[in-house]
Amino acid sequence: MVDLRVEIVPGLVLKNPVLSASGTFGYGREYASYFDVAKLGAVITKGLSLKPKIGNPGVRITETACGMLNAIGLENIGIDSFLANELPVLQNLGADVIVNIFGNNQNDYAAIAAKLDQVEGIRALEINISCPNVKAGGIQFGTDPESAARLVAAVRKATTLPLITKLSPNVTDITAVARAVADAGSDALSLINTLLGLAIDLENKRPVLGNVTGGLSGPAIKPVALRMVYQVVQAVSIPVIGIGGIASAEDALEFLMVGAAAIEIGTANFINPQIGIEIVEGIRDYLDQRKYLKITDFIGCLQS
């Protein structure tokens, strides 16, 4: 049977390349009644901030063709409550945990990274510099290579944990931001976060979402995500985790083929809570049928 293990960075070996995307997997426990979450490569938590955050008012989600817009606004329980009430549950479930973090400013990001540095049971941090739905924090750091690099350098100083920086597609050249954060000490990259979009209520002449704009996700964005992963893989020497519209093992394999070291499943979790384990099994079946011994022999096998 094919060996699905992937080494994201030295010391961070995951049992397979299938991860849950932040914001679509709660704190993990919600999925425990659907499948054994320990069988995922890792569970990436909902984005966490130093203090709890209540999120955006009004309509928060709306469906669009083959996708959805969300403007949740990074609602979360805060890092202290996560450590006290959620992390122990995830650990009991046997999950490998990657914590997604964000802040209002650089100091917040560094403070939360420092707080998690010595915590048992956290495999890595994913730094969110790409949420399109909040005014402070998130995307303001992710669209300018210099600010992104400064932020990552500050987080780098605050923790010895492996750092994955999650990039925004809402930029002219994603490879510029990718190179900047790689140079600043990020161990890996994950991309793409959602694409900024707008939905209109024709009848009422208003935006559908309370926040006016939202982040587009789902199968609609897969070709854009795949193109960006393809570009970034060639631009940097650190591992890239592919995200964007993955809804089947075939989708996941396409990202791995262009060189992604792992993938994250997002919106598809909402439609089928068991999709994560189904994709792990689908990848295994595909590679077994083709007599691969190691998944790493498949990663990046795209013929040009």
Binding site: G26, Y31, E63, G67, S248, I271, P273, Q274
Partner: protein, 274 residues
């Protein structure tokens, strides 16, 4: 909860845009469903447009089937509503917390009287209190159903409810006076609460109606539960699309956000902050 595929057993047209569907389901799902719970449904698995499952109240259930009422308001509900008998749907449920049992003792005379209040499509949730064939203090305690709709044609499932709960009195009221008198269902509620001041109230309907129900309950210090609805992508507590302000479940009075899907859809009326 269960993930399963079922077959459309019956698709009955109730109005020009409202359908009543019976769908096959595993016995375990049927047995575990309770009045006020909901199911996420799609007839489009793997095709992506529409993408997400849609939430519907579980109206009724038998040994290996359940029923929903679907108002065609958009692409997802339209596609489901147009499904022919024999077509396959995928379901995820039962989800959420239904209406609370009011007493473990089913001796009717000892039960707290229950007033059911439905507005428009809110009947899809409220009717489950009467249609579910289980031994329930909800059904046994129900004294009256107050049912408001736009007009006579939009009053749904009256025969089914009368058959399932012959003792219950049904009072209707409509926006245009085509059935019952013209007015709002909360006007009927005020009258009923004079007759049953100790009653418990279950209500489901459009938000303006629920706001009025809450005000009526507060005025006479009556207790009740409101079943809310909201847009949701997942139905099981992870997308955070459906949150609703409520005052602290811990009774400390602070406003917090609750997920309609997993902490509701039925909430104590005094906790909801509109």
């Amino acid at each position: 909860m269960y993930l399963f595929t079922g077959k459309i057993l019956r698709n009955r047209q109730l109005t020009s845009d409202i359908r009543h569907l019976r769908i096959s389901a595993p016995a375990d799902f049927c047995q575990q469903s309770a009045p006020g719970q909901f199911i996420m449904l799609s007839c489009n698995d793997g095709l992506f447009d529409p993408l997400l499952k849609r939430p519907f109240g579980i109206l009724n259930r038998g040994e290996n089937w359940f029923e929903v009422v679907i108002k065609e308001v958009g692409k997802g509900s339209l596609q489901l509503g147009e499904m022919k008998e024999g077509a396959i749907v995928s379901g995820h449920g039962p989800l959420g917390n239904g209406y609370p049992e009011i007493n473990s003792d089913l001796n009717k005379d000892d039960l707290t009287p229950l007033i059911l209040v439905a507005g428009g499509m809110g009947i899809a949730s409220i009717a489950s209190c009467l249609l579910f064939s289980l031994k329930s203090s909800i059904k046994a305690g129900s004294r009256v159903l107050l049912y408001g709709a736009a007009n006579l044609d939009e009053l749904l499932l009256l025969d089914e409810m009368k058959e399932s709960a012959p003792d219950i009195r049904i009072e209707t009221i409509t926006d245009d006076g085509s059935s019952g008198r013209q007015g709002w269902v909360t006007e009927l509620l005020e009258t009923e609460l004079q007759q049953y001041p100790e009653a418990l109230v279950f209500a489901c309907g459009p938000e303006p109606m629920l706001i009025n129900v809450q005000q009526v309950l507060r005025k006479v210090s009556a207790r009740g539960y409101l079943s809310l609805e909201n847009r949701m992508a997942c139905g099981f507590g992870v997308c955070l699309g459906c949150v609703q302000d409520v005052t602290g479940i811990d009774d400390d009075g602070t406003v917090e956000s609750a997920k309609v899907c997993t902490q509701g859809p039925v909430f104590p009326a005094d906790k909801v902050v509109f």
